[in-house]
């Protein structure tokens, strides 16, 4: 079934106000909330269950070796990338393909910067200090949550690069369809950003 025959592929449904793709992305994000929600619950469960003292006790701020400065810088980078993502969509909406693509590229670069900082200054640094996931449950949950988040970022970069490169063909065929897809990518991107906004305080600050 080609896309044109299915109703509401591009135009929004009169009742829900959503085209199919956008509705689908919202549902997907709902499931993502449950995925990360389970991991946040795990964090709470482990932290509440940790003993006051002893080797299994929850580590203090210094013991985690997590720098809030690096984490804060990464937070800033991600927030900025969310802004450029919206700007890209706005440009496509206003029919400025070149500018839109530029903002997409900036978003991708910021995302890559986030991942690079994460791996170079955090993971590599900790591996160097012999801090690995099996060191303690704190580092187990730290590596699992930030690792899964980083995978989401990388997934987002792949999608964004697709729309800068081969996916851009769609712009010539159907501008509205292409812009819709950028909007969906943006929804996902803001969600990934939002997950980090929660990860940052619970791992670096609390």
């Amino acid at each position: 079934m080609s896309a044109e025959v299915l109703p509401y592929t591009i135009k929004p449904h009169p009742v829900t106000g959503l085209y199919n793709g956008k509705f689908g992305v919202w549902l997907f994000l709902a499931s993502e909330v449950m995925l990360f929600g389970a991991l946040f619950s795990t964090y709470i469960f482990l932290r509440i269950g940790a003993p006051e003292t002893g080797p299994a006790a929850w580590p203090s701020g210094e013991e985690t070796h997590l720098s809030w400065k690096i984490g804060g810088l990464n937070t800033l980078i991600l927030i900025l990338s969310s802004v450029t993502m919206v700007l890209a969509w706005v440009q496509f909406k206003m029919d400025n393909f070149g500018k839109g693509r530029l903002y997409l590229a900036i978003t991708a670069i910021l995302a890559i910067a986030f991942v690079a900082i994460k791996f170079k200054f955090e993971y590599a640094h900790k591996f160097h200090m012999d801090i690995v996931p099996s060191t303690s449950v704190f580092f187990a949950i730290y590596y699992t949550m930030t690792g899964l988040h980083a995978l989401h970022i990388i997934g987002g970069v792949v999608v964004i690069c697709y729309f800068i490169g081969p996916g851009a063909k769609l712009w010539d065929q159907n501008r509205e369809y292409y812009t819709n897809r950028i909007e969906c990518t943006g929804l996902y991107w803001h969600f990934v950003d939002l997950v980090w906004i929660f990860l940052f305080p619970i791992l670096y600050l609390l």
Binding site: L27, F28, T42, G54, S136
Partner: protein, 581 residues
């Protein structure tokens, strides 16, 4: 439909990597039925060890090799693998893919008048990810140490330290979860967005409502298991201790290489947060199928259609806050137990409302005892037995005695086997003419039904007595205990019931394949049904409907006074229905 200008797609695009919801539905159906059969075979092997512990298995004992069955006698490890994989295969590869992947995919878009699912490519991907998950699960039988052997629930710490098969199990589960996630997004969007003109939410067949709520359960309940799976993979591969406490002793050896600090309870919470809604994933679409069959074969509207829908919504919501009734014995505390016992009692109310509505629907109906109707009728008392025997398990005091005994096995198998699987059979007999254009043979169908009905009760009924006698569900050989030995005769009876049940499926298998070519050819609407899928040609072409239908009425307008026929299809105008022909 634009299908007219398309050149004919190649064989691969049409039947293998198809994006047509009907082809994908059939793919799901065939694959899942094969897995259902495989899971059943695993169980028949286990039943030999249970009935005749330590004896050489006749005829086929030697084909499983020395690692699993030396001299034809089953090893305990192999028995555990069979148990874990029976549960996993039946639930995640058999029943759910049949109910949602096969029936949902094939019937639901037809019932809402849509040309296809909202995301056809996603639909195809969801099948193939499921397929890969199934292959991973089967392959795990051949890795050193055999397939996963920590039970279908995979409780740590046992599963954390189990053989490599457990890692394969986790990878397989991640595939299956991803597949249901893709499917559920697709289902919800399709049901909300693609209904044809006039088909309001309260004109939807109950089956579609059941699929909608089921999709929400899959969407929101599966991700926590995915998270739990990732955590267990970390425990197994990266040496973390999410589920391992400090001071863990395995086979008398203190585990010093692990950091500790985790908790096995964490897994149980995450697992049952999925697995309780999963129970309703197993039952809601089955109720949907039964509702369709009952309305059609009583020639009456469903009694309490709206009450059934509201109950389903409420059930879906409540299913997220009952999970810890599986964990009363873990020592999580009386207050928490009291909360979950209360919610469990509350959730039984909407289930009873739905079942009661279905029973009342029979009252004063002109019942046609067709094969699908027999399965649907048998479903009602079977599901009732399964549901009512669950109540004692939901009360912590009674659960102390019954927990992890054969009583639990009897309880949930009554829900899933003579319950859900009978509904699946009802659905297959009911919609087979839509898929193939031919009827299944009803003589073979009656034979299949009567023998299945008798033997399935012989399999599961004795389990209630065994359980109340205190026999644990995980025993490899219950005769080594006095209380187990005392009820061994019931185990033997149950085993013979299972093997006979296997024989009773032969008429169905023959019927299923032969009728595809030799069954009686029928019109588009052989059951004189009202819903939209019967408007489409049998089998429906690519794009489903010749013209986009418009809906004028609710789904079950049977025997309307003054109408010319005893059924008013949803797509026919009121004037056309009442004109005396």
């Amino acid at each position: 439909m634009s299908g007219d200008h398309h050149h004919e797609p190649s064989f691969i695009r049409k039947y293998v990597f198809s994006v047509d919801h009907k082809v994908i539905g059939v793919q799901y159906g065939i694959t899942a039925l094969s897995f259902l059969f495989l899971g059943f075979c695993l169980m028949m092997l286990m039943r030999w060890q249970l009935a005749y512990p330590g004896e050489k298995m006749p005829y086929i004992g030697n084909i499983f090799g020395e690692a699993a069955m030396p001299g034809g006698v089953m090893l305990p490890e192999f028995y555990n693998s069979l148990g874990a994989m029976h549960g996993t295969i039946m639930i995640f590869l058999g029943v759910v893919p049949l109910l949602v992947g096969a029936f949902g995919n094939y019937v639901m878009p037809l019932q809402i008048g849509a040309p296809d699912m909202a995301f056809p490519k996603l639909n195809m991907m969801s099948y193939w990810v499921y397929f890969v998950g199934g292959v991973v699960m089967i392959t795990s039988f051949f890795v050193p140490g055999g397939a996963a052997n920590s039970g279908w629930t995979s409780y740590p710490p046992l599963s954390d330290i189990a053989t490599a098969g457990q890692t394969w199990w986790l990878f397989g589960m991640v595939c299956l979860i991803t597949s249901s996630l893709l499917g559920s997004v697709n289902f919800i969007v399709t049901i909300i967005q693609l209904r044809v003109e006039g088909l309001t939410m309260f004109r939807l067949p109950f089956f579609v409502w059941a699929q909608l709520i089921t999709s929400f359960l899959l969407l929101l309940a599966f991700p926590p298991l995915e998270a739990a799976g990732v955590l267990q993979l970390m425990d197994r591969l990266a040496g973390t201790s999410f589920f391992l406490p400090e001071g863990l002793v395995v086979s008398g050896v203190l585990q010093t290489q692990i950091s500790g600090g985790g908790s096995p309870l964490l897994w149980q919470h995450l697992f049952w947060f999925l697995a309780h809604p999963e129970v309703y994933v197993l039952i809601l679409p089955a109720l949907g199928i039964v509702a369709e069959v009952i309305a059609n074969n009583t020639r009456k509207p469903l009694w309490g259609y709206r009450a059934m829908i509201y109950s389903t919504i409420f059930l879906g919501f409540m299913s997220f806050i009952v999970w810890a009734h599986h964990m009363f014995m873990t020592g999580m505390g009386t207050k928490i137990s009291a909360f979950f016992a209360t919610t469990t009692m509350i959730i039984s109310i909407p289930s009873v409302v739905i079942l009661t509505a279905l029973v009342i629907s029979l009252y004063q109906g002109a019942i046609r005892f067709t094969v699908p109707m027999l399965f649907a009728l048998a479903f009602l008392p079977m599901f009732a037995i399964g549901g009512l025997t669950g109540l004692p398990l939901g009360l912590p005091a009674a659960d102390i005695h019954l927990h992890d005994t054969y009583y639990v096995i009897g309880h949930f198998h009554y829900v899933v086997a003579p319950g859900t699987i009978f509904a699946i059979f009802a659905g297959i007999y009911f919609w087979y003419p839509k898929v193939t254009g031919r009827m299944l043979n009803s003589t073979l169908g009656y034979i299949h039904f009567f023998f299945s009905f008798i033997f399935i009760n012989i399999v599961f009924m004795p389990m209630f007595w065994q359980g109340m006698a205190g026999v644990s569900r995980r025993l490899y050989n219950q005769t080594v205990y006095a209380h187990g030995d005392a009820v061994q005769s019931l185990t033997v009876m149950s085993s013979w019931g299972a093997w006979m049940l296997g024989l009773a499926q032969i008429p169905f298998i023959i019927n299923f394949f032969i009728s595809r070519f030799a069954g009686k050819k029928v019109s588009n609407n052989p059951w004189h049904a009202t819903t939209l899928e019967w408007l489409a040609p049998s089998p429906p072409p690519h794009g489903n409907f010749e013209t986009v239908p418009v809906v004028y009425r609710g789904p079950y307008e049977y025997s309307v006074p003054g109408a010319s026929e005893d059924f008013n299809p949803q797509h026919v105008t009121t004037e056309a229905c009442s004109s005396v022909s």
